[in-house]
């Protein structure tokens, strides 16, 4: 059911989004970030591992897609496949090294790895990445000679977001998802039960990196340009903020967080001008202090309050009768 609701919301975005001040293209960007955020929630929400290095997977994937489009073929299929393969290999290596630690040490390690990729993109790989200028001059992406622009890109992104959400929910409800939640609660307990927790943690890490990779690749297909900002730690930070705003571990919440943040950044900022970041900071503080479960928790509380009121109303009606 939630997948159908999401599918309807996503696929009808071009019709209703302009009514709330959105514009064509922003809907595509929101769904790309939604894919990124769902994947991140498989790691953070399920296992509790907070990565500050996911920009590396997003960025590397974007560069690989860009380079494939530029040097191999404008067809998006080989570009996307190559970017997912490269990102997966990197994620296995980074995950293997960083998942040896947990908590703050894991976060710092992933941040350090992310910054290494950023530094490498600006230095040793600058001939490939375009350094500070980013990767420019990319051809219009195609799918078997059909140019990929605006609406086509939107529907490709929407379909992949729906599939991504469906898979993430399936993972969440599977024995594997149960194992990941158990990893979050206590790894030692799992080991005493005879489970090798490392492979579950690494699988979650790699799956979330694959989502980041698909999102990074789609970002280049949407806008054929790779900015160095894609690999910068601030991209990882933005992802963390989206997840916390929406509700970590809920899958749907981080997508709402992504939509809220991009909407704020691109629509509300027109009214608030330079102050929009300040207001966003205040919203973030409010959420962390009063609604640690994010927007999803807010919606649940509201639902309970309404149900409670309705219940009271019925009870008093019953009493008066």
């Amino acid at each position: 059911m939630p997948v159908i609701v999401f599918a309807v919301i996503a696929l009808t975005m071009p019709f209703w989004f302009p009514l709330v001040g959105g514009y064509a293209g922003l809907d595509t960007k929101i769904l790309i970030w939604a894919i990124f955020a769902i994947g991140f929630d498989i790691l953070l929400g399920f296992t509790g591992y907070l990565s500050f290095g996911h920009a590396a997977f997003f960025g590397v994937s974007a560069y690989v897609t860009g380079l494939m489009l530029l040097h191999y073929s404008a067809n998006i299929i080989p570009a996307m496949i190559a970017s997912v393969i490269v990102t997966t290999i990197i994620a296995v290596m980074v995950g293997f090294l960083t998942l040896r630690r947990s908590g703050i040490y894991f976060s710092i390690l992933t941040l350090a790895f992310g910054e290494m990729f950023y530094a490498a993109a600006l230095s040793i790989f600058s001939d490939w990445t375009g350094g500070d200028n980013g990767l420019t001059g990319l051809p219009t992406p195609e799918l078997f000679s059909m140019p990929f622009k605006e609406n086509n890109v939107f529907y490709l992104v929407a379909v992949l977001a729906i599939i991504g959400y469906y898979i993430a929910r399936r993972i969440g409800n599977s024995p594997f998802g149960m194992m990941l939640r158990a990893v979050k609660s206590n790894q030692t307990r799992l080991e005493f039960t005879g489970l090798d927790v490392k492979k579950y943690k690494l699988s979650a890490f790699v799956i979330s990196a694959i989502y980041a990779s698909v999102a990074g690749s789609l970002m280049v297909i949407y806008e054929p340009y790779v900015a160095t900002e894609f690999v910068h730690w601030s991209t990882s930070g933005k992802l963390v903020i989206m997840s916390v705003l929406g509700g970590v571990g809920t899958l749907f919440g981080p997508m709402i967080g992504a939509a809220f943040m991009l909407y704020f950044e691109n629509v509300i900022s027109a009214f608030l001008q330079e102050q929009w970041l300040l207001v966003l900071g205040l919203v973030f503080m409010f959420i962390v202090i009063f609604l640690p479960g994010g927007f999803v928790e807010g919606a649940q509380r509201l639902k309970r309050a309404i149900a409670g009121k309705a219940g009271d109303g019925n009870a008093s009606k019953g009493a008066s009768e």
Binding site: M179, A182, T188, R189, F192, T193
Partner: protein, 237 residues
């Protein structure tokens, strides 16, 4: 090399950081034997159990542990568990956030499974009633039942029980005692650590007494019950 005993630990030395906790402990256990590991607080009983279960702490620095001819001392925690060592720790280690049944399924995910769920529910009808309930919301006694049931859900060769009666109401203690008598009837090789030495001795065939991390006595459970001097010296009961 294994010395032919079903379970054997030889000259095991284990540390918590710099603290030398398990000091040169050696003992053998026959198949189906139930051993009560006794001693005062701080004698190293729980640490010995954790060392056998290959917990990260205390860390085993030297010595050998064999179960059914296989070297446990070369294994990691999950590998020892997959080989049939099941530790039911003092805090029961029920996994929060998931149901009773999910806790049991999880135990059967890797390695050889033990009892099927139907058999577990027949033996523990209270768990069957609560199969859909989040496990950590159950009472202490029910959680203890689940911890034992979870051990049985795996291919179990050596059951390590750490303070199974700790913090439980007397009525629940009787229930757990009944379960452990069932475990005894099943012939599962068991090491039990218990502050309540009398309760442990009622169940056990053999008693091993530890003092400051070393074995100071090994004999039958009855010998300890009959020897007041020994009990006064090492157990204060």
């Amino acid at each position: 090399m294994s010395n032919g005993a079903y379970f054997s630990c030889r000259n095991i030395n284990a540390y918590y950081g710099e603290s030398y906790i398990v000091q040169n402990v050696s003992f053998d256990i026959a198949e189906k034997e139930i051993v009560a590991l006794l001693g005062r607080n701080g004698a190293g009983k729980t640490s010995t159990l954790r060392t056998i279960a290959r917990a990260h702490e205390p860390s085993l620095k030297s010595g050998e542990i064999y179960l059914d001819g296989v070297a446990l001392h070369e294994m990691r925690t999950y590998q020892a568990a997959q080989h049939g060592v099941q530790l039911v720790p003092e805090d029961r280690r029920i996994i929060p956030g998931i149901t009773v049944e999910e806790n049991l399924i999880l135990a059967q995910t890797e390695g050889k499974p033990g009892w099927p769920l139907e058999r577990i529910y027949q033996s523990f009808p209270r768990l069957a009633e609560r199969r859909r309930q989040e496990a950590t919301t159950m009472s202490g006694g029910e959680q203890q039942m689940l911890a034992v049931a979870r051990a049985l859900a795996r291919d179990l060769k050596l059951l390590l029980l750490d303070e199974p009666y700790e913090g439980l109401a007397p009525v629940i203690v009787h229930e757990i005692e009944a379960i452990l008598r069932e475990v005894k009837k099943l012939g599962i090789t068991t090491i039990i650590v218990e502050q309540n030495a009398l309760a442990a001795l009622k169940l056990a065939d053999t008693a091993i007494i530890l003092d400051t991390g070393e074995v100071v006595f090994r004999g039958t459970a009855q010998e300890v019950l009959d020897n007041k001097e020994l009990r006064d010296q090492y157990l204060a009961i």
